[in-house]
C-alpha cells in the first residue's frame, strides 16, 4: 500500500474537456507538491500547497489542499494536448511520491 494514492492512474480525454486528479492519504502532511513529467525529462514542480483548504491556480490548473492536509486535487479546465504527461503528487517531508496519473489529451 502506497502512502499516497493517486487516481485515476490513466486518463485519456479530448482537447477541451475538464478533468480532476486526486491524491489521497491517511497521513497528515506539512505540505504537498504536484509535479508534471514529460517523456524524456525529469519531473517539474507545478505547485506547493501548505495550508489546509488552500487553493492555488496556475492558468488552467487549480490545486486544492484538503482541510485536514491529508489529500489534494488537481483540476484542469479545457485541457490541451500540451497538458499531456505524468502528474505526480509528493509529500515533501516524506520524499514519497504517489503512483502517478498518466494523462493524454487528444487534439
Amino acid at each position: 500500500t502506497q502512502l499516497l494514492e493517486q487516481s485515476p492512474q490513466f486518463l485519456s480525454i479530448q482537447e477541451g474537456e475538464n478533468l480532476t486528479v486526486y491524491c489521497n492519504s491517511s497521513s497528515v502532511f506539512s505540505s504537498l507538491q504536484w509535479y508534471r513529467q514529460e517523456p524524456g525529462e525529469g519531473p517539474v514542480l507545478l505547485v506547493t500547497v501548505v495550508t489546509g483548504g488552500e487553493v492555488k491556480k496556475l492558468k488552467r490548473l487549480t490545486f486544492q489542499f484538503g482541510d485536514a492536509r491529508k489529500d489534494s486535487s488537481l483540476h484542469i479546465t479545457a485541457a490541451q494536448p500540451g497538458d499531456t504527461g505524468l502528474y505526480l503528487c509528493n509529500a515533501g517531508n516524506m520524499l514519497t511520491f504517489g503512483g502517478g496519473t498518466r494523462l493524454m489529451v487528444k487534439p
Binding site: S31, T48, N90, G92, L95, T96, G98
Partner: protein, 113 residues
C-alpha cells in the same frame, strides 16, 4: 531554483557490468537524492546522498548494489553495479533547495541487455 545536469543521458549496457551516473548542480545544496523510475511507473527513492558521509539508503536498496559518492555540495554519483535486465530504468537525481521543494535532473535512461 536549481539547474541540474546528468551524464550520461542514456546508455545500453551488458549484463554484469557497472555504470556510474553523474549529477551536477549549478549551486551548493545540502540535500541531494537519487530516485529510480521503472517504465510507466512513479518514482522510488533509492538513497539520500550525504556530503562527507555515507549515503542513507531506503529499504530494498543496498550500498553494494548502488554505491553513491558525494564529494562536495554540487556533485554526486550513483553507480549501478553488476547490472541485470531488472535494473533497466530511468535514474534521476534531485536536490532540495527549500523546505519540501525538489528540483530534478533530466534523468538517465538505462537499458541492460
Amino acid at each position: 531554483s536549481a539547474v541540474i545536469s546528468q551524464k550520461p543521458s542514456r546508455d545500453i549496457c551488458q549484463r554484469g557490468t557497472s555504470l556510474t551516473i553523474q549529477c551536477q548542480v549549478d549551486s551548493q545544496v545540502t540535500m541531494m537524492f537519487w530516485y529510480r523510475q521503472q517504465p510507466g511507473q512513479s518514482l522510488t527513492l533509492i538513497a539520500t546522498a550525504n556530503q562527507g558521509s555515507e549515503a542513507t539508503y531506503e529499504s530494498g536498496f543496498v550500498i553494494d548494489k548502488f554505491p553513491i559518492s558525494r564529494p562536495n555540495l554540487t556533485f554526486s554519483t550513483l553507480t549501478v553495479s553488476n547490472m541485470s535486465p531488472e535494473d533497466s530504468s530511468i535514474y534521476l537525481c534531485s536536490v532540495e533547495t527549500s523546505a519540501d521543494t525538489q528540483y530534478f535532473g533530466p534523468g538517465t535512461r538505462l537499458t541492460v541487455l
